[in-house]
């Protein structure tokens, strides 16, 4: 039961805590409380890193985001302006000391710019514990075995940081807890199939983002308790049609979805690594060897545009369009996201073949150029409205 200043919160207020947990003024709070109680916090830069391992070591997994400030002058000393903005903003955050509270960070090489961020990160050596994990760009038994060895090595290092041994039992517990989080989030998302969903797109993303920074047990307890309320709630929306699916990566500010919904539409579903893709697949239970089961979950599945399974990625988007009764797809790729940019023609072609209206507008990492973006999205929404 969440409390604030000793007072038990009303149910809508409790929901608001989950919806707004990602906000600048809130997102560090659970990490700080965790540290005050003597715990350690491990920053994660990629949804492909198994959080279950961090949990099993008794530490708090905490997804890093970049500074949303306009100026990234310190980062630009190291990085050119036409490179991944997420990485540049994260670097700025690091150099400004905003991440000094972290006890460690785990990176992946999901894309090459992340590797380059790693290079600068380890060069400036601000946070002593930093680990890089290779994410296989293949779905095969060979790849599962390889990734099992990768995360076994990670586990040994995490044990050393935590000062405790990770057992199969603690891993199973971690898997159960994170799977529960995934299941609960899917239940929330499935409620969005309704003509008037219980949450807006921005609110839904807010809840998913809070799951990434809040202790999992607390998050699960809260969301499970709030589900009956959500079953009855109706989101406050200007209009409930057209229904959009927004696709992007590193979109960790729901203000973007507020902007979209402010044009008179509803974001009924997302294809975001910070949203649906963060939790959609479960670790298969009953488990065999826990690390192997984790490997299978994280390596398999359509994944993000940087993985070679573009066909499967679009298959899934198209199936979501059908399941969530979507009228149009809005892609908002981050600028300078090179692999994603090369996928755009294929993305558009597949949706066209499936007779799904779609459009793509590049965006900054932080919320910027709102006027221009709003005008373009309004035109798309208007077109969809006319077609309907």
């Amino acid at each position: 039961m969440l409390k604030q200043n000793g007072r038990r919160l009303k149910v809508e207020e409790r929901l608001k805590v989950l919806i707004d947990g990602w906000k600048e003024e809130n997102r560090n709070r659970w990490a700080m409380e965790w540290k005050r109680r003597g715990g350690k916090v491990v920053g994660l830069l990629c949804p492909y890193i198994p959080e279950e391992i961090i949990y099993a070591a008794g530490m708090l997994p905490w997804h890093i985001r970049g500074t949303w400030g306009r100026d990234i002058d310190q980062a630009l000393v190291y990085r050119p302006v036409n490179s991944c903005l997420f990485c540049s903003h994260v670097l700025e955050s690091l150099l400004a000391g905003e991440l000094d509270f972290l006890d460690g960070v785990v990176f992946s090489d999901r894309y090459q710019d992340m590797l380059r961020l790693w290079d600068v990160w380890t060069h400036v050596a601000r946070i002593p514990f930093a680990r890089m994990v290779h994410i296989p760009r293949q779905e095969s038994e060979c790849a599962y075995q390889f990734f099992t060895r990768e995360i076994t090595r990670l586990s040994r290092d995490i044990e050393e940081l935590a000062g405790i041994k990770i057992t199969d039992e603690s891993l199973r517990q971690g898997i159960a807890v994170v799977n529960k989080m995934r299941t609960l989030l899917r239940r929330v998302y499935n409620l969005r199939k309704r003509p008037v969903p219980p949450v807006t797109g921005a609110e839904a993303l807010g809840i998913a983002l809070t799951a990434r920074v809040m202790p999992k047990d607390t998050f699960n307890q809260e969301l499970e308790a709030l589900l009956p309320y959500l079953e009855q709630r109706k989101a406050s929306l200007k209009r409930v049609r057209p229904r959009l699916l927004v696709s992007s990566d590193m979109l960790d500010n729901p203000a973007y979805l507020e902007l979209v919904e402010g044009t008179g539409s509803l974001v009924a579903m997302d294809d975001l690594d910070t949203g649906s893709r963060y939790f959609w697949e479960l670790v298969n239970e009953p488990l065999g060897e826990p690390l192997y089961s984790l490997s299978q979950r994280y390596v398999s599945g359509p994944g993000c545009a940087r993985m070679p399974s573009w066909k499967e990625q679009l298959d899934r988007v198209i199936s979501w369009v059908k399941d969530f009764n979507i009228d149009g797809v809005l892609e908002l790729p981050q600028m300078y996201c090179r692999v994603r940019e090369m996928r755009i023609p294929y993305f558009m072609e597949r949706l066209k073949e499936a007779s799904i209206p779609a459009i793509s507008f590049k965006r900054q990492y932080r919320v910027a150029d709102e006027g221009q973006l709003r005008t373009r999205i309004e035109a798309f929404v208007e077109m969809l409205g006319a077609e309907a």
Partner: protein
């Protein structure tokens, strides 16, 4: 004209120019190279006319052992006459026009019919994400079977076996998806033997660069030799490497080179402006030798790691597929930065290099953000090598860009010479 026809015409012209106006500062072996490239283009054109299969990407000698010809949709940007035309094609098709040209122009060439349509596409990561994305996009554009190689970040036995297993899977994949394709292990062994000899020459070519003055200069430095199987005609590639090595070794022995009054020895890294601005001539006039062009993993490129047939690295003879995996595994380009920086600084020590000029190519994912780290590492007291980082594109530089480049190079040379007490 398609790209092969363009190349045949271009190399013909260059051969003729070399015959009519030999330049003593340029390597004679370069004429062999031009003939090799011209005849290679003709062979590929013939392959195309006969309807034989091409592959976008490929994997070392395995490609050729399968009877496939690699579609060079990456390096062709260097020979593209009108890049702005290709940029228009990219934009019209919805592809980005502001990234690395090597990762995009090949796509436009394919769309425009200047390259043959491949029958199969591969991609791999590392070394290069723009090229990886090109492989994926090509596969989807052409609606052909696609295979991705996953290369780990470390170079050890586990990653060697991981990659060798994938090569095996790829062979099965190619045979079952491309009609007429069949893996010939004898062919693979033959190519590995040729490459083994080639890598010895390449190691020799690398080592003679440590001589003062450097026996290689000008644009010759930027024609990085590749292993024989990297050329369309591997046996002639080996002959070329042999001639190249003999020539530079003789120069080194005689103490001659293009920049006789050598005041400064530099490494040029990553990329450079193609066509037009002759920066190597500018540097030569100032007594600056460009000793080495650092692109790609040095040790893979220069055969300085264990060669084909080496049994000491893993304590046993490797299988032919493991040998291919080994070559790719020791690549430092596009992997963690410490590997590439380590290679770069090692080359500087071994070749007596005093300064580094990094032409930071727009959208170059293997190096974005790494160059400042390189500069700071190189500037450390124990290393003491100044680094100049210049961002730019390969093609389409304006006159103003060239003037600025010239200015920056001159200023950097002034600083380097002052540091040596020669200002």
């Amino acid at each position: 004209m398609n790209i092969y026809e363009q190349e045949i015409a271009m190399y013909d012209k260059r051969v003729k120019r070399m015959e009519e106006n030999p330049d003593p500062n340029k390597l004679k072996a370069t004429k062999m190279l031009y003939e090799l490239l011209r005849d290679g283009a003709a062979a590929h054109l013939q392959h195309w006319k006969e309807g034989k299969p091409f592959i976008s990407g490929g994997f070392g000698n395995v490609t050729r052992a399968l009877g496939l010809v690699g579609l060079d949709n990456v390096q062709t940007v260097a020979r593209a006459k009108d890049v702005s035309k290709y940029m228009d094609i990219l934009r019209a098709a919805g592809y980005p026009d502001d990234g690395c040209e090597m990762g995009t122009v090949g796509m436009a060439m394919l769309i425009n019919g200047d390259l043959p349509l491949p029958s199969i596409a591969t991609s791999c990561m590392p070394p290069c994400e723009p090229v990886y994305a090109l492989g994926l996009a090509t596969g989807h554009l052409c609606n052909i079977p696609r295979f991705n190689f996953d290369i780990a970040l470390e170079n050890n036995y586990d990653t060697l076996r991981y990659l060798a297993n994938q090569i095996e899977e790829f062979i099965d994949f190619a045979e079952s998806h491309v009609p007429g394709v069949h893996f010939d292990e004898e062919k693979l062994l033959e190519l590995q033997e040729i490459d083994r000899a080639g890598y010895k020459y390449m190691a020799g070519i690398y080592k003679v660069r440590s001589s003062v003055p450097c026996p290689i200069g000008g644009q010759d430095v930027f024609r990085n030799p590749v292993q024989p199987s990297g050329y369309a005609l591997p046996k002639r590639g080996l002959e070329y490497l042999g001639a190249y090595y003999e020539e530079v070794a003789e120069r080194a022995e005689k103490g001659i080179g293009p920049v006789m009054d050598e005041k400064l020895r530099v490494m040029w890294a990553v990329s450079g402006p193609l066509g037009g601005f002759n920066f190597s001539e500018l540097l030569a006039k100032r007594g600056v030798s460009i000793v080495h062009f650092m692109v790609g993993g040095a040790y893979r490129r220069y055969g300085l790691g264990p060669n084909y047939g080496d049994e000491t690295e893993y304590g046993r003879k490797l299988t032919p597929l493991e040998e291919e995996a080994r070559i790719m595994n020791r690549n430092s380009w596009g992997s963690v930065g410490t590997r590439w920086i380590g290679d770069t600084l090692r080359v500087c020590r071994e070749l007596n290099i005093e300064a580094i000029i990094v032409y930071e190519l727009w959208g170059c994912m293997p190096t974005v953000g790494l160059n400042k780290v390189l500069a700071e590492e190189a500037a450390k007291k124990e290393v003491g090598i100044p680094v100049l980082v210049i961002p730019g594109r390969q093609k389409g530089l304006s006159q103003a860009d060239e003037r600025e480049l010239e200015e920056r190079l001159n200023q950097f040379i002034d600083v380097c010479l002052m540091r040596k007490g020669m200002g």
